[in-house]
Symmetry: C2
Subunit: 198 residues, 2 copies
């Protein structure tokens, strides 16, 4: 979820994930993580608030990518076209050489309810930021929330598929397909609602 750059933060990130995968998140201490790359606990806490945060993007780069995508859409774009643009921009964040890292990270998160909670909060925060960007572009409040939440849903479903065993397609390609599936699912919904309860 962060740009791949050298430096202590990135070394700690890599070391933490390796330890979480090997011996479990609960069983790993901050001291161990720091020591494994020749750093101190104190340095760790200069980069991350806690043991959970090391698995998340601390600088909100992913959120910035989403918002840049919303703002890159043309003035005439419908709300979900702004979302499609945001998804395309954010996909650049997950090149194919990050897929294995993402797989390992997700396996750690899935095994730990506290990490799962933190991830859901991050996604909800992302959705709220996207909704705000849509509103700033003139989308009505409720429509903005719905579109933003649909966007993070598509992102989540596509991301899960991207890290599935054997998946080879790019995240952008999968997102495009999932957006199409969402469109197909809602086709006919307006008619069905007018018809009343099935």
């Amino acid at each position: 979820m962060v740009r791949w750059e050298p430096g202590a933060g990135e070394r700690l990130r890599v070391a933490a994930l390796e330890l979480y995968v090997r011996q479990g998140f609960e069983q790993t201490t901050v001291e161990e993580i720091a020591r494994s790359v020749g750093l101190t606990e104190r340095t760790f806490f200069r980069y991350f608030a806690d043991k959970r945060e090391v698995l998340f993007d601390p600088q909100n780069l992913l959120q910035e990518a989403f918002l840049a995508g919303v703002n890159a859409a043309p003035p005439t774009a419908a709300p979900l076209e702004m979302i499609a643009s945001a998804l395309a921009t954010s996909a650049a964040f997950f090149p194919d050489d990050r897929r294995n890292w993402s797989r390992q990270r997700q396996s750690v998160i899935a095994a730990n309810p506290a990490l799962k909670e933190r991830e859901l909060l991050k996604l909800a925060t992302l959705a709220a930021a996207i909704a705000e960007a849509l509103r700033a572009r003139g989308v009505a409040a409720q429509a903005a929330t719905l579109a933003a939440e649909s966007g993070t849903t598509v992102f989540g479903v596509a991301f899960t598929q991207w890290i599935a065993d054997g998946e080879q397609r790019s995240l952008a390609a999968i997102e495009h397909e999932v957006l199409g599936e969402l469109a197909a699912l809602t086709t006919g919904l307006a008619t069905a609602l007018d018809r009343g309860p099935a």
Copy 2:
């Protein structure tokens, strides 16, 4: 989120919310909650795992209502028609005389990140259960996840509106409107995707 019935569990629930609203979630102890209704801490823990759980439906009655709605839809129903049916069933869980309780509960949750995380996990668990019910009814895996997540999104947006200041409409009426808005948002999306990036 729970059936309104007498008994210790319900008394603890009412007392807890009152204390959380009055003095804050962090500042309230389990002992205080129990004492305020003449019960012991030990009794509290017979009903709830922790201080957070007292704000959530411990018996998964809401989830059961959603699943009953999915299964009540006719065999020919499209995935989002099953979702519409689930939303209608679940709305019965929130009659108008629960609105004020729900408002207070939400104000406590919004003020506390740990509660917000717990709520998001509950919603994600609900979405996963709905997706499973859709798959059991023959919906393809990815479509089931998308439809279920869209359903909890609509539920969340409608619920937020239901407890908004001055809102008078029933939850069912609002859900119907929000579903219609989702349908309107996605109209034209398939065409826009075929056209390529805007």
